[in-house]
Symmetry: C3
Subunit: 431 residues, 3 copies
């Protein structure tokens, strides 16, 4: 499929997921996972409210039917139907009349961004509230308002989805995204969409070296629960990425793992360098998304995050402006392409040993060198062969060689294939 | 006390010490130490002339009553009473009449700085001389001059002062300055004044972790003598600084220890970064002040030097222009503040272990996290807690964490205190 | 001899070697080595065609008497006598009439550089051809051409030269250059000339610490053959340089060894820094000249290449424009000087131990310190002594100290000599 069409297809899928009111629990997540399951064969799991997961407890399940504020004329001046961001996420049920003064203690707006609705939550403190534009906030007059929130907060469960693609080894690559935000696009529907399309692509591949695990979880509590449930198996995870904020028009940004120089760090950085486009590299920091949990000191997993503009660094973040206009099909496609290139490196990153290590082998007699008059091999291909031969001493992987030579990884991989076929390389026992 | 007044108090103390004619031995040093003792309870020691200290020998004691040059009209054209810099320090007694030609072989001036008197010494070669402005030098006419130096160079002793403040452990922090320069302010009365006020401040503190040692010594020979006398105990010195040139208006400059990455190096550099003001960092070099001796290869102590403009890098250096106008109360105060902040880091630089290392602990239920509507904790404080939790794995100290996070040390320390009180941290056994 | 005259002498020697038609085998190499032998006592060796050397085989020997293209009027339009570059090196014998179309399949020219003759070879594929300016190529008209190449390609041998200068130890410094290019100056006669004059200079020295080996070999096949023949002895090679492109007016360029931080790397970089002139440092890369073989992973010798403008980076490279005008006597001399300074460092790079490691020794009493009124020692010399004393703890060589202090190596060496004579240093057992 042409890249342009694939970007459009990703965007359309995000469009489908956009209206659903998600939270860390409840039917919004279930509905989202059901739609995902129509694309890729995830397994859906439930974790009961009250379950202990490390230092945390799975909270009550929350669902909402409707919510509004009416003025004394009976006009709905704020209505959940218009935007699910209007309701403070996890608001308890309310039905009462309040003065403007009392109402204001439950209203949230952004004076610096008067035209957008903020996104706020109160998962762990029972509260209720509405989020509105600051312009609307300033228009409110003295009046008696009717506040109505038809929500349910009660024992239930937290839901998450998981896909496992079995490869030749039990060693895993983990991709994680969160499915708990309501109508917000870059943060985080873009991550959901990217992982669904990445999974689709990997499901088509045969002979994958690694096994791949995709998890679609509520942020923080979902990651903690998943780690708690799967604690015995996390040792299998050799590489991983958290997918979030991958659809905005900004340049790619990679937040390194806590280990700082894991293979996933080297691979993603190489993909970004080879892209020829601007990019940023950030050292690990302990705030952010679920890499906070994966990289907590008791796990310290080799999991980074390949984003575009990081959470909190774009003004649309956690507001109604993070909508379908903010995310671009081209950006989604470019991010997917970089995830695929990273997988390509991980899959093909072998160490070889030069079987002819004393002086160069004679490439010409093997048809690997351009003789006078012939030029079937490109200059980069010949240079790549010299790099692979010289540095394949068992200590350097193809990724190491591509980094050191500043030659793109696929060219190094192709050179290694040709040399291997000619019998000049063997696979190192140190892989 | 307000900082402004403390800077003024330091300056006034320097004013009091300024007129005394000091040298590496003699009553000038004794008088200086006596004044210091009126502020802090130093012990004063004498080392006899002729005592062997490593490769050196304590020289004869030198004292001077008066010195002048008279012209044939009986006019004193150069007089020690006007500036003790006029006399070549350690000049032997002289009383004789000389021609201009002979006199000139004993005169020292600076053609490039014609209005200042240079400061010169001849400790280890018996000689006599006068230091004058080059303007004066050029004015001298053919005449018969009477030269008179009423000095005494004979067996006596070298004097130094020492203050020991006992802390909870025998591990020491050493602060050193020199008391051998006559009327010169930045080099080195500024260092003397700073250490006296630093000592005053530490004497008021209870429960110091480290013991603190302050030494007031003649430069070079004093440091060598002190190391020779205390050779068996230098292993207790865990950190240290040489205080010199701390009063000029230039930016702070830190000269690293020979070890290059000692804790004192990390601590001072962090203080300078956190200051938000310009600063310079210099790698260790083997010329300079008494760090030359402390960092000689047989000792290699973790002792650096926190200065402002380094010795030799300001034109007033070793001239009469290094006077009370050159040193500023604000600069003295700023330097003292940086020494105090360094001590604060050393005292509080513990390693902790996160007791809940698998995923983040739930800060909200412990009142450590801002829930909706509340904001008792600042953003930096919350970020600091995440850094401390994530990196407290027993290998990182609070200083390491503050450096890595680029958060100021006090905020990291406060975060650690709160986490410790909540039971989320324990003190590492690797401290 | 004044440097200017020596540069001229080197240039004149290059002039003498320039007209000879060299290749990887044949009489051109023999004639070149014979002229070299008139300057320095090299041994000349022959390796028979068909000899196996690692993955390669010594090819047939090639010699050429004459070669030309005549048009139908009998005019020689291209003649080997005018430039030995006109003939594709290793062309097989040919005598036939050809159409313009057929002729063109055997002609080589450079459309981008229409006025120069390219240099091309076909060592390992039997072929024939002529190299001409593109201007000439475009002038050729439909005609019947007579092509005549009186060459001989038959079993013989490959010739190379070698000089061994015995020093106090069997540890060797290897200098290598190639003698296989016809009339090309910077690449590579400049390297031949430089090594001959370097050898002349070392032959005059007594008490060399290292033994020195100079090899004059055909590029690639010569290096491979030499390594194959001398495989058992390469462990003696402790340092080395490949000399090529050392005569053009560009700045000096050093290509590091594959080891990247060998002593030869440190020494050459220090020479370049101390030169005060522009220079470039390149990390090792596996294309280039014979460092490709010396630094193949099975040998990984500490051999770099000190050039001026690297092969391939100047437009004259491998064309008739790399002639006697392109190379300058001053540049040859400057390169020779840098090779000699490198040898000076290698010869004098000892580790010492300060015999008075606790505090500084008293330099004044040993006449090593400027007392008042005296100034026989320069400031740099005194600073150098402090550096040598402080860092001579057995772990730092004089080269390490000169790098760290940013003082030129000869000053550090002189300071060490003075300190050694004064009994303040002893030679470290870790040399």
């Amino acid at each position: 499929m042409p890249e342009k069409d694939l970007g459009k297809e990703m965007y359309d899928f995000m469009h489908e997921l956009y209206p659903i009111c998600r939270s860390i629990t409840g039917n919004g997540v279930r509905q989202t996972l059901k739609i995902i399951k129509s694309h890729i064969p995830i397994e859906i799991s439930e974790v009961s409210s009250g379950t202990k997961v490390f230092d945390w407890t799975i909270p009550k399940e929350w669902d909402v039917s409707s919510a509004y504020i009416k003025n004394s004329k009976g006009e709905k001046i704020v209505d959940f139907k218009n935007s699910n961001l209007h309701l403070l996420n996890y608001s308890i049920p309310v039905k009462k009349k309040v003065s403007l003064a009392e109402l204001r203690t439950h209203l949230h707006s952004l004076p610096d961004q008067p035209d957008v609705i903020p996104y706020l939550t109160s998962y762990y403190k029972e509260d209720w509230g509405f989020c509105i534009t600051h312009r609307k906030y300033l228009e409110l007059k003295e009046d008696t308002y009717e506040v109505f929130i038809d929500s349910k907060l009660s024992s239930g469960s937290m839901t998450y989805g998981e896909l496992y693609i079995k490869g030749k080894t039990a060693e895993e690559v983990l991709f994680s995204c969160y499915v708990c935000h309501p109508s917000l696009c870059n943060d985080n529907l873009s991550g959901v969409v990217l992982l669904v399309f990445l999974a689709k692509s990997l499901l088509k591949k045969k002979n994958l070296k690694y096994s791949y695990r995709f998890i679609f979880i509520p942020e923080t509590i979902g990651a903690i629960a998943w780690l708690s449930i799967n604690e015995k198996n996390v040792g299998k995870i050799k590489h991983g990425l958290v997918a979030t904020c991958v659809g905005d028009p900004g340049c790619s940004t990679y937040k390194k793992t806590r280990q700082a120089n894991a293979i996933i760090d080297q691979a993603v950085v190489k993909v970004l360098i080879d892209s020829g486009k601007p990019y940023k590299i950030l050292d690990f920091f302990p705030s952010g998304s679920d890499e906070r949990q994966f990289c907590s000191p008791g796990f310290n997993l080799p999991i980074g995050s390949l984003m575009r503009t990081p959470y909190g660094n774009f003004p649309e973040y956690h507001t109604s402006a993070d909508d379908l206009n903010f995310v671009k099909p081209d950006a989604l496609m470019d991010s997917l392409s970089k995830y695929l290139q990273t997988v390509y490196i991980l899959e093909n990153n072998l160490k070889y040993v030069n079987r002819n290590p004393k002086c160069e082998p004679q490439l010409g007699k093997r048809g690997l060198y351009n003789l006078i008059g012939g030029s079937k091999r490109s200059k980069i291909s010949q240079t790549a062969m010299l790099w692979v031969l010289n540095f394949s001493d068992g200590s350097n992987s193809l990724l190491d060689i591509s980094v050191r030579s500043n030659i793109d990884f696929p060219s190094i991989k192709d050179a290694a294939d040709d040399l291997y076929k000619s019998g000049l390389l063997k696979v190192s026992s140190s892989n």
